[in-house]
Amino acid sequence: MTGHRLSNACIPYLPRGVRLHDDRVRGIRVLLAPERAMQLDAVGDAILTELDGRRSLAEVILTLCDRYDAPSEQIEGDVHDFIRGLVDRRMLFLACQGPHGEAP
């Protein structure tokens, strides 16, 4: 699942115990997880806001390309880097077809 390419067919989702939060005191968005509070920049916030547990990584990337009018290679690179980091820290899960798939 990690250390190699992510499949765009996988559906990324925030597992139980990980949630987006409006930090009204600091005026930022944060991702709250066990023993972690991660400050989100605009890119991270945009990616995570798109995750609905139904759409695949490919669909999320397409939506972001449309919204930000950016080339798909660039968006794909940003999304993959960001998501791989969260998957490694167990703050984001991937539901993939195949023997190791996990259900959202």
């Binding site: 990690t2 939060h21 930090d23 005191v25």
Partner: protein, 379 residues
């Protein structure tokens, strides 16, 4: 309020910058069925009749959220020893906080755990040993391991994300690989492997608990290997043995920088062991608002920043990394809370600390001083 300057100042009178707290440890009670000999609670335990009420906790959680706290760790003692735990946890969630429950599992029924479904975000379950023989001996409570494993099963069924908190020392460190395997079998997303911090109760048990240097080195290799193997499946957080390190840890990520701790009786502390530091004055949430304590409390400001640091810390390139290390350790060993943490290789006390740790680790003493509430201390 004990002391309230117009401008927050450290213990030497230097002005300090006050940030926003991220995390709060809420010690709901010092009661606990277990008697672990390394308990992080103070040796002077707070009595039941001094405990904050659920309503008081609710008010504290709202104050904390207003102040910038994002996560609350419900701890103890054993939080399940509070009959009103569900009410307290719900108040924390209602205040907008991320609710982490730190428990031994003992005292929960399945029904009481289910009450917390939708309220508690995450559970941390302590682990004293890999089997009943070790776990029940260390916790001083027969049957604790079997009950804990039952609770772990319920946690999995309810679906709480789970972290196993393995506290390691000389008696159980050789079984670290099995602890990691257990966490994997229980479906944990994380395991925390924390070497005993030798303060308070643990300080009374240095001879039976101090790890050997070889154990500490082996543990590092085991953790590194497991991290590679489990990448993307389970996160391993590792707190290595202090006494074998070259540099000290940054206690609390910097004194008064991101964390605070509320004791069962309402005393607000920069760290759970801060009351061992003589001369510091602490405020109680029953008398003073949390924002006021965080901003102006003398104990919080005492060691904020780096301006108060003496040599060799003041000119050290690591001063913004570890802030001179642990103040409680400096107090315990140097009898001076401003001293460089004796764990640091640059401390003048380091040679003595290492020699003592080595002697303790070589001891074959296995008699444990268990944590007990005052009324039981007669034995």
């Amino acid at each position: 309020m004990t002391h309230q300057p117009v401008i927050p100042q450290d213990i030497q009178g230097n002005p300090v910058r006050v940030g926003l707290p991220m995390a709060m440890l809420a010690e709901l009670t010092h009661r606990c069925p277990l008697a672990c000999p390394y308990c992080s609670n103070p040796v002077e335990l707070a009595r039941v009749n001094s405990e904050l009420t659920a309503a008081e906790w609710g008010d504290i959680f709202r104050q904390a959220a207003d102040l910038g706290v994002l996560q609350v760790h419900l701890s103890g003692g054993e939080p399940a020893s509070r009959r009103d735990l569900t009410e307290i946890a719900a108040a924390a969630r209602d205040a907008g906080l991320y609710v982490n429950l730190i428990t031994s599992g003992i005292g929960f029924t399945e029904a009481r755990l289910r009450e917390l479904d939708g309220i508690v975000d995450h559970v941390q379950l302590s682990l004293q040993g890999i089997d009943a023989e070790m776990a029940d001996w260390i916790s001083g409570y027969g049957g604790s391991f079997a009950r804990k494993m039952q609770v772990a099963e319920w946690i999995g069924q309810i679906g709480f994300p789970l972290t196993l908190n393995a506290v390691v020392h000389r008696q159980n460190l050789d079984r670290l690989p099995e602890m990691i395997d257990l966490a994997e079998r229980l479906g944990c997303r994380r395991i925390e492997v924390a070497t005993v911090q030798f303060h308070g109760w643990a300080d009374l048990n240095r001879r039976p608990l101090m790890p050997t240097l070889a154990q500490a080195q082996r543990a590092r290799e085991i953790v590194n290997e497991a991290r590679r193997r489990l990448r993307g499946r389970m996160v391993i957080d590792y707190v290595p043995a202090d006494h074998h390190a070259t540099y000290p840890k940054s206690c609390m990520g910097g004194w008064g920088s991101t964390g605070l701790n509320i004791a069962p009786d309402g005393v607000v502390l920069p760290c759970h062991a801060a009351q061992t530091i003589k001369g510091l004055e602490f405020d109680n949430i029953r008398d003073v608002r949390l924002a006021q304590i965080w901003q102006y409390g003398a104990a919080f400001n005492a060691f904020r920043g780096t301006a108060w640091l003496p040599e060799p810390c003041a000119s050290c390139e690591r001063r913004e990394v570890d802030f001179g290390g642990c103040r409680c350790q400096a107090m315990a060993m140097a009898n001076d809370p401003l001293a460089t943490d004796p764990v640091c290789s640059r401390s003048s006390l380091n040679a003595r600390l290492r020699a003592e740790a080595e002697a303790e680790a070589a001891s074959d003493d296995i008699a444990l001083v268990y944590r007990r509430m005052p009324k039981e201390k007669r034995t």
